[in-house]
Structure formats: structure tokens, C-alpha cells
């Protein structure tokens, strides 16, 4: 037994990651050498620490209090979930203040929590010019986002998607521009975020700029201006959605960014990723996209397939959408009924992932927490699937406009007369027409006998 204990400790001591082990109460049982080197605290001293201080510690507090705060797991870990938090660490041992990301992995036996294994990942020093650091609580949302984006892309078996995964992984490791080409709603923005948040500059910021919707002068202010827009945010990656909508002079200025970045070891301007829904060569041919700018962006091109080519992934995608909806206000349904599945699998999803999510969101609202069935899905979806190939060659049906208008007119006149108890003068006023016209229409519609004139008693 003693041999085995020795081996696991030696194993952890060999790790370059600072590791620690807590008991279920949060007392430190073990720290490895990397932890000692990072913190400057020997293992014997560390075993007197107890991770029970969730509140942020001020930068002026002593190092022991800071470490206790670092070692304190988030609440969900005691419930058995993996947790992560980001901790602000003040200057110590001639090192500047920094952020540390701390992962907590609960270890359970048959009865409950046995202990917690922790790992510290230094996330970078806080630049002096950045202003006062943000409070840890404000960063909790970012920690969640980074955790979600760091996981497996899809776990898809489709060769096309596995290729995209590999390209995203490669793109995250290099600094060159990336061009994502795929239909609207196919997930290009999420891919751009993954490329950034899995790369070496993930501690700096990522901005998605919608070139189609934002006015050009606002985009220019963000990219090049001083006027409070970017406010010198530490942007390492800028994702341009539909850059063909940018004026050509802005495209030319962005091209100089790319060219300057390629030729020097000096501090990099933000890395550019672009997303284009249409055929980029058509945009170039029609003069909407500068050819040199396009060529520079397409240094690494990733083609994102439409959802219709990913039907095998639909069960997994639907599950992920429902899990995502479950993060909202009320519990979202976790199931689709068989008839709902039939429609989801048969539909062509021209709006891709965005449409899938929107449909499930509205269906989830209609179904409350019950399983989603076909009646919860939008009518257009059900019609598109049930009409099937007939949609390709729709048969022409005459639209009887006159008959339709007459029905509407009849209904409105009946309503107005009923509202005013047969008083034609009042009914005409309600319909914003002269009374003689109302009388003519009553005769024409055959309503004259059914709507005899009545007058309210004068007051």
C-alpha cells in the first residue's frame, strides 16, 4: 500500500501543472511541486490551508488569505459538478498582479463527495495601462463562455465536419487571417469565437462586428477611431461579418493591417477573421469586395456546410439546442415526440442552425416543459414537409379577390351594425363611410332586409 501511495504522489509531482487535492471539507491534503513553485508556499505550510473563502480578497491582503480564496471551490463542485473560477492574484515575489484560472474536479465515492482535485492555470498578467482590474464576479460570465467554447466542437462523425474541426484547431494555433464561407445561420460566428478562445491570445478580447447592420462610420470608429467606441479594448481578434458591406476605403485600410502584420515582428494589430455567406468570388467580380483584401483574408479558408448536409448530426444538434434553452428562465423540454422528429428530420433547414434554434425556442415556449410535438412546431415547417415535392411545382390556384373582399366587407358591416344595435348612422361613422354608401352596400350585399334601420332614442 505504501508503495502505491508513493507512486501517485510522484506521478503528480511530475506534472508541470500546479495541482492540489482537498478533502470534502476543503482542507488541503496535497500540493505538487509545480504548485509550490507557483505560490512560493511549501507543501507543509499548504496543508494548513482551508479553502473556505469565496469572497474576493482585496489586493492588499496577505498572501495566505489570497491562496485560501484561490483554493475555495465554487458551490457547484460540492454538488458533484466540475467547476472553474478566475481569481485575481496580487503582485508577489516580484511578479505583477495576474489572473489565475482554477479548475476543480470533484472525486466521489458511492456515498458522495470524497475530495476535490484542483488545477491552477495562470491566465496572464494584468497590463498596467489597462486601468483597475475588473472584479472577479464580473468575470464569472466570461469563464462560463470560455468553458463552453473550449469543449468538443460537435463530436460529429461526418467527414466534412471533422475537417472543419481540424481546420478550426489549426486556425486557433496560428495568427493568419481566416475566411469562413458558409450560408447564413450555419454557425460561422461561433466558429470564429472558438478559433479565438482556443488560441494563445484567448486572454485578450474578441469582437464580432456586423458589417451589414452597423453603419460604416461606426465600424470605422471601432476599428480606427479614438471616439470611445473600442476604447482601446484589448482586442486580439476581430470577426467581420459580411465584410463586403464595408466601404472599399475601409477594406483597403484593413488590408494594410494584414500586410503590416505579415511583415514584422512588432506588436500585432488585431487578427482578422471574416465570415461571408454568399460566394466571395461573386462579390469580388461585382466590385463589392476588393480582390486583394479577399485574397489576404482567404489565407486560411474554411468552408462551413449547410445544415441540410448534416442530417446525421440533427439528434445531437437538437439536444444541444434544448440544453441551451434549459439555461434560460424556465425548464425547457428535453424531448421531441416521434411526429416532431419526423418533421425535423425531413425539413431542409434553409436557415441552418439559426433556424433550428429559433424553431426549437418557439416550440419550447409553446410546449412549456412537455415534450415538443408536431403541433408545437411552426405551421410553415409542417406545411413544407407535408407538401413535400409538390412544393417544387406548385399548382396555380386562382385567388378570387372580389369574393374575398366581399366577405371581408360583409363581416365588417355586420360587426359595425351589431356594435351599434342596428343604428346605420353610427355604424357608418365607425366604418368611416357616409351613410348613403352604407345603405347602397347593404342592398348590394343583400343585407338590407336583415339590417333594418334603427335609431337610438334622442336624448
Amino acid at each position: 500500500m505504501a508503495d502505491t501511495d508513493f507512486r501517485w504522489q510522484a506521478f503528480f509531482h511530475r506534472s508541470a501543472d500546479p495541482l492540489f487535492l482537498l478533502n470534502r471539507q476543503g482542507h488541503v491534503l496535497f500540493v505538487n511541486r509545480a504548485w509550490e513553485q507557483l505560490t512560493g508556499i511549501a507543501a507543509a505550510q499548504a496543508r494548513r490551508l482551508w479553502g473556505r473563502r469565496p469572497e474576493q480578497v482585496g489586493l492588499e491582503r496577505n498572501w495566505r488569505d489570497v491562496l485560501i480564496h484561490v483554493l475555495t471551490p465554487p458551490a457547484e463542485v460540492f454538488d458533484g459538478d466540475v467547476g472553474r473560477h478566475r481569481r485575481l492574484v496580487p503582485a508577489h515575489d516580484a511578479k505583477p498582479p495576474a489572473w489565475w484560472d482554477v479548475d476543480f474536479f470533484p472525486i466521489r465515492d458511492g456515498k458522495g463527495l470524497l475530495g476535490i482535485l484542483g488545477r491552477i492555470v495562470p491566465a496572464g498578467a494584468i497590463p498596467r495601462s489597462a486601468g483597475p482590474p475588473l472584479p472577479e464576479s464580473a468575470l464569472a460570465a466570461r469563464v462560463k463562455v470560455v468553458q463552453r467554447l473550449g469543449g468538443l466542437f460537435l463530436g460529429s462523425k461526418l467527414p466534412e465536419i471533422r475537417r472543419v474541426e481540424e481546420q478550426v484547431r489549426l486556425a486557433s494555433q496560428v495568427h493568419s487571417p481566416v475566411l469562413l464561407v458558409g450560408p447564413a445561420g450555419s454557425g460561422k460566428t461561433q466558429l470564429a469565437r472558438r478559433i479565438h478562445f482556443r488560441g494563445p491570445t484567448r486572454e485578450q478580447s474578441f469582437a464580432a462586428v456586423d458589417c451589414r447592420r452597423l453603419p460604416p462610420f461606426a465600424v470605422a470608429a471601432l476599428l480606427f477611431g479614438e471616439v470611445g467606441a473600442a476604447s482601446r479594448a484589448p482586442l486580439a481578434t476581430i470577426y467581420l461579418k459580411e465584410p463586403s458591406y464595408l466601404p472599399r476605403d475601409l477594406q483597403a485600410r484593413l488590408l494594410t493591417w494584414i500586410q503590416a502584420d505579415a511583415g514584422t515582428d512588432a506588436a500585432h494589430p488585431p487578427r482578422l477573421i471574416a465570415g461571408i455567406s454568399d460566394d466571395p468570388s461573386a462579390d469580388v467580380a461585382q466590385g463589392r469586395l476588393l480582390e486583394d483584401f479577399y485574397n489576404a483574408l482567404a489565407t486560411l479558408r474554411i468552408d462551413v456546410p449547410p445544415l441540410v448536409r448534416r442530417r446525421d448530426d440533427l439528434p445531437h444538434l437538437v439536444d444541444r439546442c434544448l440544453q441551451r434553452l434549459g439555461r434560460g428562465k424556465t425548464p425547457a423540454p428535453r424531448l421531441l415526440t416521434a411526429d416532431a422528429w419526423e418533421i425535423v428530420l425531413a425539413y431542409s433547414w434553409p436557415g441552418n442552425l439559426r433556424e433550428l434554434y429559433t424553431v426549437l425556442q418557439s416550440a419550447s415556449h409553446r410546449s412549456a416543459a412537455d415534450p415538443i410535438d408536431a403541433t408545437h412546431l411552426p405551421l410553415y415547417l409542417r406545411q413544407a414537409v407535408r407538401l413535400g415535392p409538390e412544393l417544387a411545382t406548385p399548382t396555380e390556384r386562382p385567388l378570387a379577390l372580389d369574393s374575398l373582399l366581399e366577405r371581408v366587407e360583409r363581416r365588417l358591416i355586420e360587426l359595425a351594425l351589431r356594435r351599434h344595435k342596428g343604428n346605420q348612422t353610427r355604424a357608418a361613422e365607425m366604418l368611416a363611410i357616409w351613410r348613403p354608401r352604407l345603405i347602397r352596400r347593404l342592398r348590394a350585399l343583400g343585407l338590407a332586409d336583415a339590417a333594418p334601420e334603427t335609431e337610438e332614442p334622442s336624448t
Binding site: A138, S205, L214, A218, S231, G328, H365
Partner: protein
């Protein structure tokens, strides 16, 4: 036809006043939700629009709100408005999915133009 909705999450009326002329001109439905639950209901029932989020009073709640709206209502444009230039806060807001970040004081035209632009539906949205 449903009018696009403009949600303003702020402690005072400054942003409402700045956007009031554009809101009248464009016939936006303007609402002032206070909590996440209200924002959620308005977006779920009223459809995507634009959320203008003033930050600085309760950063934890404001950043959580930003993250949740981005996650659950990705077609909603979000404009984050801060009181004073703060680079880390701008970076965080961008990271969490803001469509635009700006710091006061600003000419109303910039905020108006950004909100008007974001009121357009994203490409390919139904």
C-alpha cells in the same frame, strides 16, 4: 405587423431621452426591463430587437445579463454603454457578445445610428 422592440436596461432616463426621437420616427416599441426575467419574457414573446445595456452599477448582474441574452437570443443586437472609458470592461463586453460598445459622453447620432442598424434582421433570419 409587429413593431421592432427596443429594450433599455438602465438606472436613469438618459439613454431613453437620447433614443426617443429615433424611437418615435421608427415606431419602435420601447420597454424598460429591470431584471433578467423581464428581458427574457419580452424577447421570447416580442421577438428579437435591440437591447441597450447601461453598465457600471452592478457589473456582475450586467455581465451575466449580457452573456445570457447573447446565448439565448443570438439575433438580438446588444449595445453596451458605459459611463467612463474602461478598456477591460470594453473587452469583457465584446467577449460576452456585445454588438457594439461605447462610452459616454457620445453624440446621440452615434447611438441612434448603431441602434437603427441593429434593428435590421440578421442575414438569413426568418
Amino acid at each position: 405587423m409587429r413593431h421592432p422592440q427596443l429594450l433599455i436596461h438602465a438606472a436613469d432616463s438618459l439613454l431613453s431621452e437620447m433614443l426617443s426621437p429615433a424611437a418615435k420616427r421608427q415606431r419602435w416599441v420601447v420597454r424598460h426591463p429591470r431584471e433578467w426575467e423581464e428581458v427574457w419574457e419580452l424577447l421570447e414573446v416580442g421577438g428579437a430587437g435591440v437591447l441597450v445595456l447601461r453598465v457600471g452599477r452592478d457589473l456582475e448582474a450586467e455581465m451575466m445579463l449580457l452573456e445570457r441574452v447573447t446565448d439565448l437570443f443570438p439575433d438580438t443586437g446588444i449595445v453596451v454603454v458605459g459611463d467612463a472609458v474602461h478598456a477591460p470592461l470594453a473587452g469583457l463586453a465584446w467577449d460576452l457578445g456585445a454588438s457594439y460598445v461605447l462610452f459616454l459622453p457620445q453624440p446621440p447620432e452615434l447611438l441612434e445610428a448603431v441602434v437603427e442598424g441593429l434593428m435590421q434582421q440578421p442575414a438569413g433570419a426568418r
